[in-house]
Each structure stands twice: as structure tokens, then as C-alpha cells.
Symmetry: C2
Subunit: 498 residues, 2 copies
């Protein structure tokens, strides 16, 4: 079956993208590898002067039967030792440092791109032909570039009513207004989204894009239901905006929390899934729904391999990715060559199957962490209807919602202002020796510029506040202790007996 | 002696900088290392899941007596083998991957910052107290960030009349006008700069900054004379603009080209300089002239260690660097952790002295390359007054100026248009099997918005064109062959007998 080509959305490009001229130096760079040309065109140092002739890494070896975090025995059963040379290749797929530490390849080194493109095709069944990927230095970079590529000062974008504060702040600094979309425990509510857009003030600038974190959303921990993605995509076509799916937590899909330990054990005792079972269990993606090429997906190694790798990739239509490449030539230039050589060396040796093994192992670890956290929350948090624990099915975050109005001093000390309760509890909890962060830090603001939706954007109790915690960063023991401190502080503050 | 503090130039910040709110998450990040706090605040994965437990590098060992590009014998005399661990430190100064591959440290890892700050203090005698450095992912990133930090759409900046095309294009895309400053063989002409600014149209936006590549300028290969730096700094204070010195080629200061081989041999036979001699021989820098904190210097490892390291640093007053950190939190986040651990591991083991040895070795290599290139140019280029060879004293580039009007078909085929000759020669030279790039690619444009300076910005023959070549990228033999092809093509095209 021949897939259709993507549509042309270049009319959504920013003034900056339209004003960006291709560097004339890039018009001759293809001659660098022409054997008939002696290239005196660019200031490329000889690789003889790169002071790393060989780098050898020790890494875990698939299928990671003892767990992805298990201590390596240094034996052939669990330890992979691989070497990247400066001047030669141990394997055909290696990127020697003479290449990776040289200029060039803003899109990414071909060998690494090939691996990631194959992986991407495996996960998302693409519905148009001219899709591609480019490397980023992580989703922070990918998002900031997205704003530069598409948005002008004064433009409007859409985002979940609570969203990642750094992403929101990046838009705000650029003078872009973010309009919050109501969410519930399954993410964006398509009906609300459509209503907002159907009733958009005529003549007001319409949103160019929707920024969403569909899986294990930050900060709410919610995951967008599959059928909602189809609906939201339909609305995107109807109202002509792009969808930017920011998916750092995509592979941390732990599934439903099972409170009953016997039931949970039954699920845990099921043997490790096959690769087909694992791939089949993953949530639908906007990318896989996209027929027109109006979705740009941001994947990152930050949560899957290591944040400091500063490596991720964008997937979308070639037409939409081209201006990112032109922008990146003038910003990041390329992801670090050390990173590219070492990540490529590892992934290629693991193979697509080994990488899936890794992702299965990662999901397993986070399932244990999530269960441990939610068990402890149910154990230690006040057992009172004003406290609502939200067990996530994906990602790194749990939330606890609190009806601030039940605070004994709500009307007096806090003047019936839930935000004041929130800040007060945050400070108290920190003094108790545990840090969870207030939901208010993630509120999507800027809704004053476009027309207001008629209903509250929270869609719920106006006195409800929430706190976000993570089970990613500490050991199970510390996590339990932290949540006990949290529970104790809440009991005390709200004067609820244990 | 107590040094004074820098002045406050925050009134030069861009709207974007002023609108950028600090991320609330950053207000609690200091609690991450507080032993009394269980930190459930951020989505930081456990380092147990970083799949690199140990990375071992082979590198050259100071003092590099056989040359910095010499093949390593794998013996203790010339080979340094060092290991960075994930979970421990071989040396106190090492940055284990558990730290470098984790989130955090947008400014850079403290150990690496310490080394670079010490190095920077050694090279530039700073005249104010509150200076600091921050890491970048190279000067491309540093420059783009500079534009974002200081400039709004419609602002004006100054640059050499020919400058690095990518830097100019970056400004242009952002809607910033670059005003070209006349240059000669010693760089920017201070008198011209002052005249332009003294006669600036009243009410027109005044330039916020001067972008300059003082050493081995790209594309002209010229180096800004020391005494001119003092003058230009005085003018910067008078007309209140910042100076951004982009110095990737700073350590490639080969000194004057000596055509006479006997004379040259005398210089070559002088023993390797002491470190004090080397440091004393380096050009004055704007940073070392700066008393107010109005200079930001961009250093890069691209030409000194390897371009693909994507690592550099900015030096300037803390007040001016702070908004870069806030911007980088939303763009690059941090330089790659692999890069930081490996570069730090190498530099710390080399020590400040070993690194100076490396820079001395690098300068030696480029001196040989430069001499080889200029020798060949004098040998092969037409010996005719219309062809002017410009031997550089620093950097990677040579230029050859040509009076296009002596072309036999200048008035007929080329309609007395030197630009047409330039393009034609470029194409012909490429067909002859060598690539040098036309000076026109680097012309600083955008001078139509502010008032025109009265004299030609080139200050010379309006029919003069030039080509830029580099001796960095190929072996000496290939370079000679390339320059022979260039010379042959020019002889033929201009119908000059050999």
C-alpha cells in the first residue's frame, strides 16, 4: 500500500522561520565528501587533534534478567563492553569520533538516525509517507525550537490546564499566550476543547498548536485515553492546529494500580511479556492517528536512558522538520558527539530487541515504584473524603487532591483562599522533611487574552488544591518514609485523627 | 587590591529576558541535596538505571613532545588512560556519571567550571570582581543566546563588515539589523566606528552590542590589533554598547608569516616557549581591557579539542550571565554529561600546565599549516598586482583578494559587476577540483535601516572581491595540490601567463 504524502502546513510557520535564510556555506557542504574536490571551504580541524583515540564503555547486556538496575558482575552473562575508536570502526554501525566529534550532521548521525527511525516505525504505525526524525538535545530543546519555528509574539497556543511549568514559562517569555484546556482524570476533555474552539471570538488569533503530555502527564500524572486522541485529532483538523505530543514518559506505562495484594500478585506472576505483547499494550499515539502530518512528537532519552545524555528526537513530516534543522544549525548545531557515539554504540549492540527488553525492564521497575508509592499513600494519608489519591497508570508522578475548605482555619487564617492553604501546606510539609510540589506551580495561565471559556477550567471544586510527588527519585524505603512524613503533616494540619 | 564590581547593564536586556519568570521548581532544587529532606519534587530517574557504569578513555599525555597529533604508542610515556565511573570517583575532581548524566547544573558542573575559571583567570587579567563563567554547547549556542538575552526585533547591532555568515543569519532571522563596521588588515577601524556612532541619526535605535571575532577573523583571517581593542572599548563606553568577543581561534596565534626560509628557520629553531613566554605572547583581549563588565567573551573547545564536543563557555559579569542561565534552563538545559565528564576527566588530569602544553602544540601545528598554505599560494597564484595574498597571523583562514576589473571580460560578459565575476570564479574553481568560498557569502548586510556611513564600508577598491580558504581541514600535500588547482584556474580565467 502506498501511503499518501503529508499536507503542507508551512502557512503556520513563524516570521522568524520565514526570515531564516539558508547558510550559503551549507550549499557547498556536500562537496566535503566529494573525492574530486579538495575542500578548503570550512574551518574543520583535523581529527588527528581530537584528544580521545578510544573510549570503552561497560554497560548492561540484554535481556536484563536480573533487572535493569542490577549490579553488573563483569561477566559475559550480564556485561557488555564496547569500544568506540576515533579512527576506525569496531562494527559497521559505529560512529567513530573522527566523525561524531567533527562538525556536521545537524539532523543527527545517519547510523543513529537509522536505529531511531526503525524504532519509531516499530512503535507508531505511520499513515503518511514523508515522515522523518531529527535529533534534539532533549525535549526542552525540542519544545523551545517548536515555539521558535511556529509562533510569533502574540500568538496563542493550547495546553492542558495544568502543564509542565518550564514549557509554559518558555512560551510566556516569548510573548505567546497559552490557553488552558480543561482536563479530568483521563486528560484533555475533547468536548470542552471543541466547545472552546467552536466559540472562539471571531477575529481573535486562533491557536496554532496544542501542547500536550499525553502519557503520565506532568504534573497531574493522568494519561490521555486512546479514544480521546482520535477525537482531539479530529478537532485539530477541524480547527487547523498542530499537535505537539511531548512524550518523555511514554514507555513508563505501568497499567492500572491494583490495591488488592492477591490480585496484584496474580498480575505480577504472569511471565515477562513477549515483545509483541509489550508493543500491543502501549497507548495509541497522536503520531499513529495522524494522516495529514500535523503531529510533531517529541521523544527523549532523559527518562529512558539518562537525562544528562541531552538527547531526544522529533518525529513529523519532512516539511515541518526542515525549519527545525535550519534553526538548529544556528542554535545547538548538533547533539554532542560523545553522546551520539556512545548511545549509538550501545543501542546498536543491544539491537531493536535488546532495547525493547530494556523498556520492558524499565516499566517493571516503575510499576514496583508506583505500587509502593500508592500503597504508602493509602496507608499514611488521611482517610477522609477531602483527600483524594490519584494512582497513575503511567509516568513518574502521583498527585493527591485536597479540598482546602475543610482546613479548620480556612475562613479565618486563610481568608477562604485555597491558594493560601496550598502555600502554607507546602511550607509545612518541607519543614516536616519531605518535598512535594504545589499544583499551583503548574497552572496554565495567560487565558485573559483570548476569550474566557464559560465554565471553570478546572471543571471541579474551586477549593480543590493538589500536590505532585514522584516515586522516581528515591529508594523504596525513603519513599515510604517521605510519604509517612507527608501523611503525618496532613493529619496534623487538618486536625484529622489517625 | 580589591577589584570594583561590574556596572549594571540590565537596561539592555531584551523584552524576552524581562518577561522570563524563574521556574518555581528551581526555587526548591537546592533541597535536593539536603539530608533532612526526602525529595519527591522532581522527575529525576535513579542513576542505577543509567546504562553506562564505566567509561575508559585513551588520550595523549602531556607534554606532547612528538606533537599533539602524534600516533599514541600505548605506553606510559605518551598515553593517558583514565576512567570515569558511574557510581564512584577515581579522583576527587572526577564527575561521576551518576551526577553528569542526571538533571541539574545548567551553568555547568562545578568541577569543570572550576578548571575553566582558573584557566580563564590565567589568560585574562580581570579588572572587576564579580565575573563568572557558564558553559555553553559552543559559540553558536552562545551567540544565539546572546541575541535572545539582549535583542528585540528591530534592534541594531554592530559587526565587522564581513563576518561569520551563520552569526549574521541568526540575527537577521530574529529581525535584528546588523550594521557593518569598516575593517582593514588589522580588523575594525576604530576611527570609522567612532565616526559612525558620533553621526548616528538622532532618535534611531542605537546599537546594543558589537559582535566581533578579534583573532583570526572569519572570513577575513585578520586579527584586531591590541591598541585598537583599547580604542574600541573606549568607544563602547562612550556610546554604551556591549562587546561580544567570539574567540574560537584565540589560541591559534601563529605570529607573522616569514617568507624567507632562512629567517623562518631561525624562528623555528628557538626552543619550545615556556608557559610564561606563551601566555605573554597572546593578544590582548577585550575581557582583559574591560573595567565595567560590558564584555562577554565566548570561548569554545571546537577548534581546540573537538567541534563535536559541543562545549564552550561564556565569561562576563554575573549580572549579565544570569539571564543566560535562565534562558538555557528552557533551551539546552546543560551541556551533555558525557562531554562534561570526559572533557573534565581529561583536562583535570592534564592540569592547567598540561592544557597549556596542548595549546602550545596546537599553535605549532597551525603555524606549519599556515606557512605551507601561504608558501603554496605565493608559488601558484598569479604574480600580478591585482592578486593580493593575505597571510594571517592567527586562525584557520587565508584570503586572496582579486581586482575583478582586470578580468578580460569584466565589462562585457560580467557587465562591470564584480559580484558576477566572483560567482563565476567560484563555480570555475569548484569545477577545477578545489573549494574556496566567496567573500560575498560573509557580507554583513542590513545597513539600510540605520543611516549609511558616508564612505564605502570596504574602504577599498569597489571592484575588489575575495575568496576564503582554510588550511585546517586537509593534509599538507592535499593543501598544496588544492592551491595549485586554484592558481591554475585563476591564471587561466584571468589569462595571465605563468
Amino acid at each position: 500500500m502506498t501511503l499518501p504524502e503529508s499536507k503542507d502546513f508551512s502557512y503556520l510557520f513563524s516570521d522568524e522561520t520565514n526570515a531564516r535564510k539558508p547558510s550559503p556555506l551549507k550549499t557547498c557542504i556536500h562537496l566535503f565528501n566529494d573525492p574530486n574536490i579538495i575542500f578548503l571551504g570550512g574551518g574543520l580541524p583535523l581529527s588527528d587533534y581530537f584528544p580521545w583515540t578510544q573510549v570503552t564503555s561497560k554497560s548492561p547486556l540484554p535481556p536484563f534478567n536480573k533487572g535493569i538496575g542490577a549490579k553488573l558482575s563483569d561477566s559475559e552473562t550480564d556485561t557488555l563492553t564496547y569500544t568506540v575508536e576515533r579512527d576506525s570502526k569496531a562494527e559497521d554501525f559505529d560512529i567513530p569520533f573522527s566523525k561524531s566529534l567533527q562538525y556536521g550532521f545537524t539532523q543527527g548521525h545517519p547510523d543513529l538516525l537509522n536505529f531511531l527511525k526503525e524504532h519509531t516505525g516499530l512503535i507508531h504505525k505511520m499513515n503518511y509517507s514523508d515522515w522523518d526524525i531529527i535529533l534534539t538535545t532533549g525535549n526542552t530543546n525540542g519544545w523551545e525550537s517548536t515555539l521558535r519555528v511556529f509562533c510569533n509574539k502574540g500568538d496563542v497556543i493550547l495546553a492542558e490546564a495544568h502543564s509542565f511549568s518550564s514549557s509554559l514559562a518558555s512560551a510566556e517569555a516569548q510573548g505567546i499566550t497559552t490557553f488552558p484546556i480543561p482536563i479530568d482524570e483521563h486528560g484533555i476533555i475533547p468536548e470542552k476543547l471543541e466547545e472552546i474552539l467552536d466559540n472562539w471570538t471571531p477575529g481573535a488569533p486562533k491557536p496554532k498548536l496544542l501542547y500536550t503530555i499525553p502519557t503520565g502527564q506532568n504534573p497531574t500524572g493522568t494519561s490521555l485515553a486512546d479514544e480521546r486522541k482520535v477525537e482531539i485529532y479530529r478537532i485539530a483538523c477541524k480547527h487547523d492546529f498542530l499537535i505537539i505530543e511531548d512524550e518523555p514518559y511514554y514507555f513508563l506505562q505501568m497499567g492500572e494500580y491494583i490495591a488488592d495484594l492477591d490480585e496484584r500478585k496474580k498480575v505480577q506472576d504472569v511471565p515477562k511479556p513477549t515483545h509483541d505483547q509489550f508493543l500491543g499494550s502501549l497507548a495509541k499515539t497522536f503520531l499513529s492517528v495522524d494522516t495529514e502530518g500535523r503531529v510533531i512528537r517529541m521523544d527523549s532519552f532523559s527518562k529512558v536512558l539518562a537525562p544528562g545524555s541531552r538527547l531526544g528526537w522529533l518525529t513529523g513530516s519532512k516539511k515541518l522538520l526542515q525549519p527545525y534543522i535550519s534553526l538548529h544549525e544556528m542554535t545547538v548545531q548538533a547533539a554532542s558527539g560523545f553522546t551520539q557515539s556512545l548511545v549509538n554504540g550501545l543501542l546498536q549492540r543491544w539491537g531493536q530487541d535488546g532495547y525493547i527488553d530494556w523498556l520492558i525492564g524499565l516499566r517493571h521497575e516503575y510499576t514496583l515504584k508506583r505500587d509502593n508509592a500508592i500503597d504508602a499513600l493509602y496507608e499514611y494519608a488521611p482517610k477522609h473524603e477531602a483527600f483524594k489519591i490519584n494512582p497513575p497508570i503511567a509516568g513518574m508522578f502521583f498527585t493527591i487532591n485536597i479540598d482546602a475548605s475543610i482546613h479548620p482555619e480556612f475562613e479565618t487564617k486563610f481568608q477562604s483562599n485555597p491558594a493560601m492553604v496550598e502555600q502554607y501546606i507546602y511550607d509545612k510539609v518541607v519543614r516536616s522533611g519531605v518535598l512535594v510540589v504545589p499544583g499551583a506551580w503548574f497552572r496554565t495561565e495567560g487565558e485573559t487574552n483570548p476569550p474566557q471559556p464559560k465554565e471553570s477550567k478546572q471543571g471541579g471544586n474551586a477549593n480543590e488544591i493538589f500536590f505532585r510527588g514522584t516515586y522516581a527519585a528515591v529508594s523504596p524505603e525513603k519513599l515510604r518514609e517521605g510519604l509517612k512524613r507527608l501523611g503525618d503533616a496532613l493529619h496534623e494540619e487538618f486536625q484529622i485523627a489517625k
